[in-house]
């Protein structure tokens, strides 16, 4: 009704809805956007806009297919709904390095691409750090980086002259400008507006941060990313928690994504700190290492934390080989829920007896969930046995099913013509089961 009060109440149907009241209902459930009503007064539009604005604004860095989107977050805990936009991982490159060293490090960053559960994941940004304090050198380094990578950049300089010269070189790629502080915010905001790039706002603590954000907003720029100035992991956790909590309470200065810097002097602790920031609300995390052993765990943690709890990850439904199986190796049937699949795969591996896994497509549900939802049936298993090509790879006709769905065995044997062995209820029992029961 609050929405309805702001509408023109003409029932003109221009929005595609039968009445203004119907339009208000559709708005309230996010089924339609406010733009559809072309007769709103400006005052009403502003009132409704702020009411419907997401608690954390959407901010974009870069252009094209490598563009990074941040924000639009709505919860403190992923189990309440989900985390929307995965933390962007930025790897820093110092402009104190030689050009050759810069190219080598950017090459290493470009190679940080990993295959996880059937998809590829990579780092998102290259942060060029103005350690030299020399504007000309910084602009040159930014140019070298921009020519070496397709990833969007972070322009890390609080010196306005250096930032402007870097933007002269790299603004077309819409880098993140990092950024504004209590002394330079007016000039930095002018730069961000001129080049239309997102801007990091840094305060010494939350109070100063809120102050500067208000001033930057008053200067007319709203593509912002927040930095409370904290660098010690415990303080960053506290500040990021506050920023997210305040945003959800619609405290306007904190309604933007946050950036965190993993600057710990101990290189292992720096990676560990970055992991905390990924779990705890950072929109961007900047790390120094381009070592794949450091980045793989961060990419994996980000994937896990930002998985939609309501949409489980699935593996592709096809024949998987564990430890180079042969024609006499056992064949295990399970579901394509990735957690289920990887449990089974791990336990087969630890049995040290090579085997085949057939994960039946159950829309990513687990064995018992898939079974009770009618997605893990004798017919679907038979289809997989017939169409996956497994029959050509093994000389026997025996298939092992999970102990939890032992009731399927009779019907499956009848429909498929394969001999059905009922395995253990838990995949951890596979090693002992297969040693005892798999005889050719």
């Amino acid at each position: 009704m609050e929405i309805f009060k702001q509408l023109p109440k003409t029932n003109c149907k221009d929005c595609g809805q039968a009445t203004c009241l119907a339009f208000a209902m559709a708005l309230a459930t996010s089924k339609i956007s406010l733009d559809k009503c072309i007769h709103l007064t400006d005052a009403a539009r502003e009132a409704l806009d702020s009411a419907f604005a997401p608690p954390v604004a959407l901010v974009k860095i870069g252009v094209g297919d490598k563009q990074v989107e941040l924000g639009n977050e709505t919860v403190l805990f992923r189990h309440d709904k989900r985390f929307e936009h995965p933390t962007a991982i930025a790897v820093s490159v110092s402009d104190s390095l030689s050009n050759d060293e810069i190219v080598a490090k950017v090459d290493a960053i470009n190679n940080l691409v990993f295959d996880r559960v059937g998809n590829t994941y990579s780092v998102d940004l290259v942060a060029v750090d103005n350690c030299s304090n020399d504007a000309a050198r910084f602009a040159e380094a930014v140019k070298v980086v921009a020519n070496s990578t397709g990833l969007p950049l972070v322009i890390m300089s609080e010196d306005v002259v250096a930032a402007e010269r870097a933007l002269d070189v790299a603004a077309a790629g819409k880098p993140l400008l990092c950024g504004a502080n209590v002394l330079n915010y007016a000039a930095m905001t002018a730069l961000a507006r001129k080049f239309e790039v997102p801007l990091v706002v840094k305060g010494a603590g939350l109070n100063e941060l809120a102050d500067i954000v208000e001033k930057v907003l008053a200067l007319g720029w709203q593509q912002l990313i927040l930095d409370s100035g904290a660098r010690a992991v415990g303080q960053v956790l506290a500040d990021q928690t506050q920023i997210r909590r305040q945003a959800l309470k619609k405290f306007r200065p904190f309604g933007y994504p946050a950036i965190a810097f993993a600057t710990n002097a101990d290189p292992v602790q720096a990676v560990v700190d970055a992991g905390v920031y990924i779990a705890k609300y950072a929109g961007v995390v900047v790390v120094d290492s381009a070592d794949p052993a450091d980045i793989l765990p961060l990419i994996t943690l980000r994937l896990n934390i930002y998985t939609d709890p309501q949409k489980p990850l699935a593996v592709q439904s096809k024949v998987y080989e564990i430890l180079n199986p042969g024609a006499d190796s056992p064949v295990y049937v399970t579901t394509n829920f990735s957690l289920t699949y990887f449990c089974v795969a791990g336990d087969i591996e630890s049995s040290r007896i090579p085997g085949y896994i057939l994960p039946v497509d159950t829309d990513g549900t687990s064995v018992l969930t898939g079974w009770s939802a009618g997605k893990f049936t004798p017919e679907k298993i038979t289809e997989m046995l017939n169409n996956s090509g497994i029959a050509d790879r093994v000389s026997h006709r025996k298939v092992i099913i999970p102990g939890g769905v032992a009731v399927l065995s009779g019907k499956l044997q009848e429909v498929s013509g394969w001999e059905v062995l009922v395995g253990p209820r838990e995949s951890a029992g596979i090693p002992s089961f297969v040693k005892q029961c798999w005889k050719q």
């Binding site: 928690t241 292992v268 052993a293 793989l296 957690l339 040693k435």
Partner: protein, 315 residues
């Protein structure tokens, strides 16, 4: 502009548990706030770290892990003393040899091992069975009797064998680890059943069967967050400290077991990070007792916890 710090007023707290006896006892739990958020509550006890000791040589530990225990892996007493040297808060004795497919060690043998290890170290003990419910229902009571009065942490009690394990804890003065498979309702139900056998709630720890990084950690993470929120909002049957078997899961992962590669980097570094980041993420979700395998992981985890406690958010 002064930002009014948003503080939650939590009604409940995690119960405090004592493990071990006398001057060497340690405490876990007791928090009335989310992990490390001291600006709105008290964190009387830091998370603690246990290292695993097996009663029989583990067959499949990668070299980067086994090399840390060179020369002691056939001798649980020497192994446990090495863990003390490394700075572990607790020793987690795993009675793997009791498994029917392993040595099928008898309850008497399990008791002798537990007694020998307890006699050799001055830090609290966890004693973990072989994972076969029926066998654990025999060996854990025997080990519990051998350690009578030591106030150890015995596990894992499941819905199938909790009666035998709980009885041993009640009779011999130990605390129990209650295991349930990634399900908050099952966990709560098991806590109630154990508590109804007259084991007080400050002698029950919860094991949500965590997955490692990349292998379902997000399920455990969310279950543990919900458990902590349950405790803070006053649900007594979710107010127990949480035990995470991090090492056991981490060292099954391909990322920990695969040798050096260009794509994944150096194994020793990668494997330790896999264990540490699994642990630190689960600490963020509310884990109180972290059971690890590699001493370097333990050192890094303890450094991280110290930094977190020292700096976290002032008051």
């Amino acid at each position: 502009m002064t930002v009014t710090i948003a503080k939650e007023k939590w009604a409940g707290k995690v119960v405090e548990m004592v493990i071990g006896q006398g001057p060497n006892a340690i405490k876990v739990g007791g928090e009335n706030t989310l992990p490390f958020l001291r600006f709105e509550g008290e964190i009387p006890n830091e998370p603690v770290v246990a290292l695993e000791v097996w009663d029989t040589e583990p067959p499949d530990w990668p070299d980067v892990l086994a090399s840390a225990f060179d020369g002691v892996m056939g001798d649980p007493v020497a192994w446990a003393m090495r863990c003390v040297d490394y700075g572990a808060d607790l020793v987690c004795l795993r009675l793997a040899g009791a498994h029917p497919d392993n040595k099928d060690a008898s309850p008497a043998e399990a008791a002798a091992t537990a007694r020998a290890v307890a006699g050799a170290v001055n830090i609290p003990l966890m004693v973990i069975g072989c994972g076969i419910d029926e066998k654990d229902a025999e060996v854990l009571p025997a080990a519990g009797e051998a350690l009578a009065g030591k106030n150890a942490l015995l596990g894992c009690a499941t819905i199938n064998n909790y009666k035998a394990v709980t009885t041993a804890c009640v009779l011999h003065g130990h605390s129990v680890i209650a295991t349930s498979p990634l399900d908050i309702n099952l966990a709560k139900q098991l806590n109630i059943l154990i508590n109804e056998m007259d084991l007080p709630i400050n002698r029950i720890a919860m094991d949500p069967l965590v997955g490692a990084l990349g292998y379902g950690i997000e399920y455990a993470y969310s279950i543990m967050e919900r458990t902590r929120l349950g405790a803070l909002t006053g649900d007594k049957m979710l107010a127990m400290p949480v035990v995470c078997f991090v090492g056991q899961e981490t060292w099954k992962s391909r990322e920990a077991k695969t040798a050096d590669s260009d794509e994944w980097g150096a194994q020793a570094h990668r494997a330790v990070l896999w264990e540490v980041i699994t642990a630190t993420s689960l600490v963020q979700a509310g884990g109180s007792v972290l059971v690890l395998r590699h001493p370097e992981s333990m050192k890094q985890l303890k450094n991280h916890i110290t930094a977190m406690i020292k700096e976290a958010g002032g008051k």
